[in-house]
């Protein structure tokens, strides 16, 4: 086996050093009736070229080369080449969690830079080293709010990603943390502020909204914060499209921000691995889950970095920890850090500007075709929008597919009240040609091949 660095002679020599007579003697603690004596029923050992052939064939079996208008919490942005060049350096790729600070300063400094960038983008004081993703981060943010407030209920907007809401329900169901869901305004697509106000009780630990929300609409964060804070509840803002922060005002009124950083240089990869992160105000730091890198000095007074405040974590606190999280998404956070370094202060803004322009053109072009209507048209949006069509989403998407276009996401499963509606996303990678072709298909007009 080519990954194993031993000859049979060396194995025999080592076995003799252990005093065992056979390799099976080293497994003697396993009762004989449970020991496997034949090969497992698995594919035979493959050569490297065969492995590559297998996965290339699988990739080809997926459709490739299609234009796509899918977003909904997973966004296709350009990934600068240097990201993969750098994260594939073995010193990053094959290093462990940096508990031994003297020989992991590279990882630790990069985490410190990541935390700083997330603070700059979100307007929060502190950010952790990462969570699994945006959905689990949102669930953990609510658990954090219950610890801070000593209250047990949460209020979650229905305009939050439906899968995030499902994950929150799974996390909270057995911890005595009931949730109330607040509907959205049918005209604006934003959370219904009156209903929100009515849903908050003295037991409400936190209000959680997403902005841009699942429909791509920006929520009125200052107004929502005022309503939550008036009743002593915290505000958690979930952000699934991190690129929006280039142009969208950071949710500074929030107490906790739960961000999905996938848009910062992370491949779609059929939904993962992505990169969640929780950011908060200084005063709530001790209730934050997840790892943190901090700056300190060494015995000679030189600047260095360590993992810190670990008394919040499971390996010290066990059942009293802030979370059971251990392994996080470190290498993906490094991708995001490199992405943000490549684009920088001006680039993230320019990138967000391109996304805004593409989506504005797509929404106005598609939304004005016969049989199509742009919903929530008067509300501020980032780069997603909802189209209601006289065609069913299935028929429309099948027609688009004949032109190599994957259309918007059918919303009927989660929002049946919106009728035949689809959620569309345009990013800097969406071309005018794709948008114009989709518009002609939508209109039933002839499309040039």
């Amino acid at each position: 086996m080519r990954y194993l660095p031993k000859s049979d002679a060396e194995r025999a020599q080592m076995l003799s050093a252990t005093g065992a007579l056979s390799i099976d003697e080293l497994f003697a603690m396993i009762p004989a009736e449970y020991r496997i004596t034949s090969d497992l029923d698995l594919p035979r050992q493959l050569g490297e070229s065969e492995i590559i052939d297998y996965f290339k064939a699988a990739g080809a079996k997926n459709a490739v080369g299609l234009a796509s208008f899918l977003g909904a919490g997973c966004y296709r942005h350009y990934r600068p080449v240097v990201i993969d060049s750098l994260v594939q350096r073995g010193e990053f790729l094959t290093s462990y969690t940096p508990y031994q600070a003297e020989i992991t300063q590279g990882t630790l400094q990069a985490i410190f830079e990541f935390q700083t960038m997330i603070c700059e983008l979100t307007g929060m004081d502190v950010a952790n080293a990462s969570m699994y993703d945006g959905s689990t981060g949102a669930a953990e943010a609510i658990m954090m709010a219950t610890r801070i407030t000593g209250r047990s209920h949460s209020v979650v907007a229905r305009s939050v990603h439906p899968e995030y809401r499902e994950v929150m329900a799974t996390y909270h169901q057995h911890q005595g943390l009931p949730t109330t869901t607040v509907d959205y305004n049918r005209e604006t697509g934003q959370v219904d502020l009156a209903a929100l106000d009515a849903a908050i009780t003295p037991d409400t630990a936190a209000v959680l909204v997403q902005s841009p929300n699942f429909f791509g609409v920006l929520e009125d964060i200052p107004a929502i914060a005022a309503i939550a804070h008036a009743k002593g509840a915290l505000l958690i803002v979930s952000i699934a499209e991190a690129v929006s922060l280039g142009l969208v005002r950071p949710p500074v009124e929030a107490d906790i921000v739960s961000l999905e950083a996938q848009s910062f240089g992370v491949a779609l990869s059929y939904g993962g691995p992505f990169c969640g992160v929780i950011a908060t105000k200084d005063k709530y730091l001790r209730q934050m889950p997840g790892r943190l890198a901090g700056q300190t000095t060494d015995a000679d007074g030189q600047r260095g970095f360590v993992l810190t405040l670990s008394t919040r974590e499971q390996h010290i606190r066990r059942e009293k920890a802030t979370s059971n999280i251990c392994t996080n998404q470190a290498l993906v956070a490094l991708m995001a850090t490199i992405f943000l370094t490549v684009y920088g202060k001006e680039g993230v803004r320019e990138l967000a500007h391109h996304n805004l322009a593409k989506a504005a053109y797509a929404a106005s072009t598609l939304g004005t075709q016969p049989g199509a209507k742009l919903l929530f048209a008067g509300s501020p949006r980032f780069h997603e929008f909802v189209l209601q069509t006289t065609d069913s989403p299935i028929d429309l998407n099948n027609r688009l597919l004949t032109h190599n276009i994957v259309g918007g996401l059918d919303l009927s499963k989660w929002y049946p009240e919106l009728g035949q509606s689809t959620l569309w996303c345009a990013t800097e990678l969406t071309t005018r040609d794709h948008i114009d072709t989709a518009a002609r298909v939508l209109a039933g007009a002839p499309v040039e091949a």
């Binding site: 396993i30 600070a101 990069a110 059929y270």
Partner: protein, 524 residues
């Protein structure tokens, strides 16, 4: 000022590393490392479009050029130790070789670019990988069903204990407590707590295993499950494993196995055969996906048929194929859409119709990129390679044990599997603790072992070499540990003040925690 003398210690000699400040300190306005293509749609006025939601001031991100990006992160990388540089014997972490073909195949365009909401008919390749990996992991564990959704080991524990809870709930009562040995990883009790269970710790017996008589005494109708790591954190197989399962099952309780140490078992024995009801795997340990400085991981949960109805949604199924729509044009050389509609009568897809499910534990389908890597590892090994891997991992640990047991105290004499745990008892008598020995090991060119864990051993040195170490590297490790044992006698201060060869000396963790500096700020 004299340069560092060019001396060799064990297998290492000092070399230069470049100094490098924080990226923010290298920034200056106007530098850039990106170029966007020109806009092909009408420009917009963001302030007008966004209104009150417009951000007038950008965040203070660095402004640097591309060469500075490359140098910055390359320099940082050289400050890290890594498996690619040498042995990384962290006990319970299974720091094995991360094959590069895994990285290559995970980036194949049709796989890396697949959106999770694309129609299932356009994702059959992605789904076939899920199906084959599931089949392989079920065979390896001897279980009946599996979910790949959990994002890491602790997330898998959470999912597994939710399955346990849903199972008991379906029988009328979720029960109250989860039993956890005192040798367990901290995630186990933290997991039980967030699943709404009381944690009852059970003391290990003199051999470091489960005290079966004690277990029999405390298991009752309030017991939901025992969370057991097997082999245990001291690297010992629970030889009475089936009695343990029988005791639990007799009271209707379930056996959860933490699969952190599965690298000792693959191809040699199967948890499903020895009475385990539910377990998680760590693809980033046993199945070679890279640790990446702390993640991403992947923590599939395998279970027996009695727990299958409760698995998180969605689950992978075969369905009748719908009438496919084939694009009329295809990109030359891209055999994509035209491969569809080839007359297959079934296709793979996700089933959401699961009335007894515990619900979702993560958006989408899990850390998919890790599935590709783990499957590539299994295919590279085959059944014979996986078995040889396990045998080599166990042989390596026992070779280290044989090479060090005369100098380091072995608190448990029970046979070791894939890892060996010593204590610092003899060195502590000279004032040198396990943490000091670990730091001195750095000077010899090795990453330390796991320090002070498991907690049932005072001053533990937990050593897991994995199968990836050659005889030469193991001999160098043993020689280094023996040399340090001699230094503890001859020059304890040298050990106590180690490491001496790293870029930074021991860091002040106390001040870091008391006055946390968790982000860079511009100097006023």
């Amino acid at each position: 000022m004299t340069a560092t003398p060019r001396t060799t210690l064990g297998k290492v000699r000092a070399h230069q590393t470049q100094n490098e400040g924080l990226i923010f300190e290298k920034s200056s306005p106007g530098k850039r490392a990106y170029k966007l293509p020109p806009l092909d749609v009408p420009d917009v006025d963001p302030a007008a479009l966004l209104g009150g939601a417009y951000r007038p001031e950008p965040g203070q991100l660095p402004e640097v050029s591309e060469i500075e990006v490359i140098r910055h992160f390359t320099r940082l990388s050289t400050w890290n130790y890594a498996i690619d540089l040498g042995m990384y014997p962290l006990g319970s972490c299974t720091m094995k070789y991360n094959p590069r073909v895994n990285e290559f195949v995970s980036r194949i365009e049709g796989l890396a670019e697949a959106h999770p909401y694309r129609p299932e008919s356009l994702a059959q390749g992605s789904l076939e990988i899920v199906e084959l990996l599931q089949r392989c992991l079920i065979e390896i564990t001897g279980m009946d069903a599996i979910t790949l959704q959990p994002a890491a080991g602790a997330h898998g524990e959470f999912t597994g204990i939710l399955l346990v809870r849903a199972y008991h709930q379906s029988r009328g009562n979720p029960r109250k407590k989860v039993l956890i040995p005192d040798s367990a990883h901290g995630t186990n009790p933290a997991t039980a707590a967030i699943c709404g269970y009381e944690v009852q710790n059970i003391k290990s017996n003199p051999e470091g295993g489960i005290d079966v008589a004690e277990l029999e005494r405390i298991v009752d109708e309030d017991t939901a499950a025992l969370m057991l790591t097997n082999p245990s954190t001291i690297g010992v197989f629970e030889s009475e494993i089936h009695r343990i399962a029988d005791i639990l099952h007799a009271k209707g309780a379930l056996l959860y196995m933490d699969g952190a140490n599965m690298n000792a078992l693959v191809g040699k024995t199967r948890p499903g055969d020895f009475g385990v009801d539910v377990m998680h795997l760590n693809l980033h340990k046993t199945f070679s996906t890279p640790h990446g400085g702390g993640g991403p991981g992947s923590g599939p949960v395998a279970c027996k048929a009695i727990l299958e109805p409760f698995l998180p949604t969605p689950v992978l199924v075969r369905k009748p194929a719908p009438a496919t729509t084939t694009p009329t044009t295809t990109t030359p050389g891209a055999p994509g859409p035209s491969h569809l509609g080839t007359g297959e009568t079934t296709q793979l897809g996700w089933s959401f119709d699961r009335p007894q499910t515990v619900g979702r534990v993560r958006a989408f389908y899990g850390n998919y990129g890790m599935f590709i890597r783990a499957l590539a590892y299994i295919l590279a090994n085959g059944p014979d390679g996986l078995r040889q891997t396990t045998e080599d991992a166990v042989l390596n640990a026992n070779y280290i044990r044989a090479g060090l047991q005369d100098l380091y105290e072995l608190p448990y004499k029970t046979a070791s599997m894939h890892e060996v745990v010593f204590s610092d008892k003899r060195q502590a008598a000279r004032g040198i603790k396990t943490g000091d020995i670990a730091k001195r090991l750095i000077d010899y060119g090795f990453h330390p072992y796991t320090v002070s864990f498991p907690m049932i051993v005072s001053g533990a040195l937990m050593i897991e070499p994995t199968e990836s170490e050659s005889l030469e590297e193991l001999d160098l490790f043993i020689a280094a540990m023996r040399s340090i044992a001699a230094e503890v006698e001859s020059n304890p201060d040298l050990v106590k003040s180690a490491p001496h060869s790293t870029r930074v000396s021991r860091l002040d963790e106390v001040t870091a925690a008391r006055k946390p500096i968790l982000r860079w700020k511009p100097t006023a």
